[in-house]
């Protein structure tokens, strides 16, 4: 049996930290995790693999271009949001689906169209300041 002498101090998944994206060229790239044991890629990163439960996961930059699976224009939302705004799911290579804001005029959007990630402020943080995040734009 495993020794129980060491207490477990949880520290994975700093949910609201800003390390889910970083500058790349003249844009940004999203940072997920890749499991070093089974190869599963996950976004956002959690520190543990949902396929094999390994904690041997490393940061992994994701592709900047994917396809738009679907979207919705939100007109009613909690008060920290300025409506309307558009959200969607973007499918990236590496078998990752990313929940994202979509920056384009909704009239331009089509299912399966190519979209590219870019930095964008969304909503408001605890201090009523715009929150740095990302959105996807038609590629």
């Amino acid at each position: 049996m495993e020794s129980l002498s060491q207490p477990i101090i949880p520290q994975a998944n700093q949910l609201l930290s800003s390390d889910f994206m970083r500058p790349c060229g003249d844009g940004i790239e999203l940072i997920g995790q890749r499991c070093q044991d089974c190869g599963k890629t996950l976004f956002p990163k959690t520190g543990v693999c949902p396929s094999c439960r390994s904690e041997n996961v490393h940061d992994q930059a994701l592709a900047q271009v994917g396809t738009l699976y679907s979207w919705s224009v939100v007109h009613v939302a909690p008060k920290e949001w300025r409506t309307p705004y558009t959200i969607g799911y973007v499918d990236l290579p590496d078998n990752v689906r990313v929940f994202a804001h979509i920056g384009a005029d909704p009239q331009q959007l089509r299912c399966d169209m190519p979209v590219k990630v870019a930095a964008a402020d969304i909503g408001l943080d605890e201090n009523n300041q715009p929150r740095p995040f990302f959105h996807f734009l038609p590629a």
């Binding site: 949910l15 996950l42 009613v76």
Partner: protein
Amino acid sequence: MRAVSVIGTGLIKFGRYPQVSLADLGWPAVKQAMADAGVAPKDIGAVLCGTGLGGPMPGQRILGRLGMTGLPIINVENACSSGSSAINLGSMAIASGEHDIVMVIGVEKLTRFNGGTIPLEREDWEVRNGLVMPALYGMRARRYMNDHGLTREQLASVVVKSRRHAALNPDAQLQKPTTVEEVLQSRMIADPFTLYQCCPTGDGAAVVILCASELASNYSSKPIKVVASHIASGLFESGPRDMTSPEITVRCARETFEAAGLGPNDIDVAEVHDAFTSAELMYYEAFGFCEPGQAAHLLESGATSLGGRIPINPSGGLLSKGHPVAVTGAAQVVEVVRQLQGRCGARQVQGARIGLTHATGGGISGFDHGVCAIHIFST
């Protein structure tokens, strides 16, 4: 394992009751169900109380009003399936022989949140970044429209059918008949859903009293058998998945039908989780009431209307009755049990012998839904 039956039901009309406490929403439904079942407080072995957003110890708060305390009371949280999950646990408590009679409560007071969309867990990545439930269902609907050619008018016609049923149900919040034009002209909530295509929330309480079948006739003249009670949780999936087919309901339905030795053609009446218009259509397909992509055709054929082959949501469903989160699953059981007892007046499904209820719960990243609860009942 012992067979389980429903011997009593209670329900308050869902609505906006900001001046009424959660405890006072609950006890009138408890009294109605106990009178319906013909049980005294001493007959009840345990209470399971489902609430999603009602705060701690709702069961104790409700039963304290009636002086029915000291017995085992367990509160159950499973989002929009809290009430139906409590029924599942209550059934197991009787089947195992631990108790003969169990009371199940679903209770919720949503007016305390001052309107808007149902509050979700802010630790969740997608919620934190702007997801609301109408938009999640909206994205599913959009993709279904893309893949199957479903139109906005067809989506709206789900509401027309819902209100037509609700007009016959005094317990429905929204009873006024409507038209496709009126539905589409109501204000936009999350594209493609206009206001009328989103279930209203509100406050509510529903109670179901379960009993060992071998003892049921001591209490009720029309006990209704629990043929199957089944719960599934969602599969976590971080990659692409097909959002036009609700995986958790497809799987849970298959498992439930297998357990019951029944299939979709055996069901006479069903209450399904029509939180938004597109959901009802996708569930026609998930249960096998029609083939994939044929849901709008099934609706337009009249098969799912009262008088049709398989009436769906004769109560008006969530779209017209309202959706007080945890109450929904229990209230669906109240409706189907009363249908099978032949007590539903103008909205009665004639000759109904086998009925089904279906409640899902969601709103967290990576899951189609977090939970799905399906029950099948028979006369």
